[in-house]
């Protein structure tokens, strides 16, 4: 019963987020206010469906959603949509949706294409994963990664608008980028989002270390997942420093936000699917 409801919620999430993405695209091309509002509402529905799916899963399995890749991706998507919607409402930045929403869409397609029903169901977790620290670990990761996805979207918008403006002297029209906020506003926003995410990523790494120390007595063992989260952390630390010290704003900062998120994705997927490691329970 609950299982069926959970699966239904998952497909609601798939439909709503796909529709949301398409609506953001239509909106950005057509400039119909109604379509834009619809895009936002549909995305809110997607977030609600995602929330229900996660809560139902937690009720069914009796633990935080971290027993397999399916659950990780659902929480990752939740983080992305939640931070994105917050940014949209807070900074009136609807055009960002066209660049952020494809990420949850691709993640959901990844689940549908590569995970059979057996890989999606709730699994028992080994005793080592029964720890409150791990819940903090997942919540902080979810928000930090969601925010990094958002800054990635902003970075892409910046780069598009920038290259269009370089050419704009030749061609008069700017096309869809005319709907984007000014370059320095995008730049400042991306910075704000990274500033929000960086302490969270730090906390995520720290809670992971505390848990590992409880579970097997090593707070840091340089397994690939840990190492890649450290690399991600260093990239964003570089972003913050280059920005405040060398005035690396604008284009370079946008590129760093994009690369940072590539490192996030690698930590998330590359490590599980391309590299072997201790975090193998996540496979």
């Amino acid at each position: 019963m609950l299982e069926n409801l959970e699966v239904t919620m998952f497909y609601c999430l798939v439909m709503a987020s796909t529709l949301g993405m398409l609506l953001y695209w239509i909106w950005i091309g057509s400039k119909h206010e109604f379509v834009g509002r619809l895009a936002t509402y549909v995305t809110i529905i997607a977030l609600l469906a995602n929330t229900s799916a996660i809560i139902l899963r937690m009720i069914i399995s009796g633990h935080a959603p971290l027993s397999n890749g399916y659950e990780f991706i659902l929480t990752f998507i939740w983080g992305i949509m939640a931070v994105y919607l917050f940014a949209e409402v807070r900074y009136k930045l609807r055009s960002l949706g066209a660049f952020v929403m494809p990420i949850p869409f691709l993640l959901l397609m990844f689940i549908i294409m590569s995970m059979g029903p057996q890989e999606r169901i709730a699994q028992a977790i080994p005793p080592a994963l029964k720890s409150q620290w791990l819940t903090f670990h997942v919540v902080t990761a979810m928000l930090a990664y969601g925010a990094f996805a958002t800054s990635f979207g902003i970075g892409i918008m910046y780069l598009m608008k920038w290259s269009r403006e370089q050419k704009a002297e030749k061609f008069q029209s700017q096309g869809i980028v005319s709907r984007f906020p000014a370059l320095d506003i995008l730049d400042e926003l991306s910075y704000k989002v990274v500033k929000f995410a960086f302490p969270l990523l730090t906390l995520c790494i720290i809670t992971g270390a505390i848990w590992a120390d409880y579970a097997w007595g090593t707070y840091w063992s340089w397994d690939p997942k840990e190492t890649w989260s450290l690399i991600t952390w260093i990239i964003y630390a570089g972003y913050l420093h280059a920005r405040s010290m060398y005035g690396w704003r604008g284009k370079r900062a946008a590129w760093m936000a994009v690369f940072g998120f590539v490192a996030v994705l690698f930590t998330f997927f590359g490590v599980n699917y391309l590299l072997p490691g201790l975090h193998s329970y996540a496979q």
Binding site: P126, F198, D213
Partner: protein, 435 residues
């Protein structure tokens, strides 16, 4: 700082105070760390790591994170961070605690500036009242015809980046402490046995302690729904044969004695038998899946246990056993026993299954650096929060009067990293003063 000196030490100092070097080091560390995830590491995949080319192994690529040159990189970064911090600490101190009120109008920040006109004395009073109300620390100056102030709020925010940087040094020191003074090891023992701590298998460091560990019980507990609850071990610490401490540990609930921590890491089922032979009773403890065997004295009969079920799983405890003769590949006898049951083994001895006996695998670790690590983590997080969410606000102002009655108040705010907030703080201040 002597800027123009070119002595060797000064040049070194300057090199290490550069943020370019710091960022380059961070970049190199990230790059090298990434390489380590592509090459199999001895810690995680010993077999694969040993198959890597000899040259690479010698250069340390298969134990990259414990090589001297990786430590050297971290050490250089620490020196860099310390030098940077030393260089900045005085400036930060002055900007935080030794603010000087402006002595002329030009010193008021131009970008965010507002002017208020009113009566001199009430304005002066109002400024001080509002500064207090809004939580500013302030310094006043009263010169002949210029009254001025400078005020700062959330001043600890100035220390955020310094604390963050030093926390990294603290973390590295914690790790160093752990690797010099600590050890790491593992043992697997059956319930009822005693083991001197010195005899565990070590993977790092050496053990100087002399106590013994007795495993009182080891249990694999399942939940009613069949999922594993946890593995539990009840153990005692014996100093010179005397029990001095005792506790039950499980995965995620370690036990600490004198700075040495025992972690539940593994579990294996075992069983307790008695072999009765020629009027003699021999106690036998076997681990399941034939991890060890019993050879009856004076015979070539070997006994192993294949599977062992605890009483919690299926009501009654049970054990399946096999007997091998000599080097024969097929068992000459096999079967299942329930608790208390006795059978005859090849007419040679009587075997009684007394009950299950868990084997517990414990990770043992001593790391005096861990507290330092948690301190470093707290500083890191605290520093970040201060740097990002507790940004200081500085406002300064002058009050001038031509005739001693009317006053001209000029206030300005030093813009922080988020310029919108600066403007808001200034406007808030001015509107409160003029109310």
């Amino acid at each position: 700082m002597v800027e123009n000196s070119n002595s060797w030490s000064d040049r070194l100092w300057r090199a290490f105070s550069s943020m370019k070097l710091g960022l380059a080091l961070l970049g190199i560390i990230a790059f090298v760390a990434a390489i380590g995830t592509l090459i199999p590491q001895l810690e995680q995949e010993p077999e694969k790591a040993k198959a890597v080319g000899q040259l690479w192994q010698t250069m340390g690529f298969t134990h990259l994170y414990s090589t001297v040159w990786f430590s050297l990189l971290l050490g250089l970064l620490c020196i860099n961070l310390i030098v940077c911090s030393v260089q900045r600490v005085n400036g930060i101190y002055k900007r935080t605690f030794k603010l000087k009120p402006p002595s002329k109008l030009e010193q008021i920040p131009q970008k965010n500036r507002m002017v208020v006109q009113g009566t001199f004395a009430p304005l002066q009073e109002s400024v001080q009242k509002v500064l207090k109300q809004q939580g500013y620390h302030f310094v006043l100056s009263d010169q002949s015809n210029l009254w001025s102030f400078i005020a700062i709020k959330r001043r600890l925010g100035n220390w955020g980046s310094l604390i963050t940087h030093l926390s990294f040094v603290v973390l590295v020191l914690g790790a160093l402490l752990g690797s010099i003074l600590g050890f790491k090891g593992y043992f697997m023992q059956g319930a009822g046995s005693t083991l001197p701590i010195q005899s565990i298998q070590l993977s790092k460091g050496t053990v100087s302690e002399t106590f013994s560990v007795r495993i009182n019980s080891a249990e694999d507990r399942l939940l009613p729904n069949g999922e594993r609850d946890n593995w539990y071990t009840n153990m005692s610490i014996l100093e010179n044969g005397q029990e001095v401490a005792s506790d039950t540990l499980s995965v995620n609930h370690p036990f600490v004695y004198k700075g040495i921590t025992f972690y539940q890491a593994n579990f294996s089922n075992g069983a307790h038998f008695t072999a009765a032979m020629k009027g003699q009773k021999i106690p036998v403890i076997l681990r399941e899946q034939g991890q060890n065997y019993f050879q009856a004295p004076g015979t070539d009969l070997y006994l192993i246990a294949t599977t062992i079920m605890g009483s919690s799983t299926s009501g009654q405890a049970g054990a399946s056993y096999q007997i091998y003769k000599g080097t024969g590949e097929q068992p000459v006898q096999s079967g299942q026993l329930t608790s208390g049951q006795t059978i005859d083994v090849q007419g040679t001895y009587q075997l009684t299954f007394d009950g299950t006996n868990g084997f517990t695998g414990l990770q043992v670790k001593k790391d005096p650096g861990v507290t330092v690590i948690w301190l470093g983590c707290a500083l890191l997080l605290g520093g970040l929060l201060l740097a990002f969410y507790w940004q200081p606000q500085v406002i300064s102002g002058t009050l001038q009067s031509e005739d001693g009655i009317q006053g001209n108040l000029t206030v300005g705010a030093l813009s922080g990293k988020v310029s919108g907030n600066t403007r808001k703080a200034l406007e808030q201040f001015v509107s409160a003063v003029t109310k």
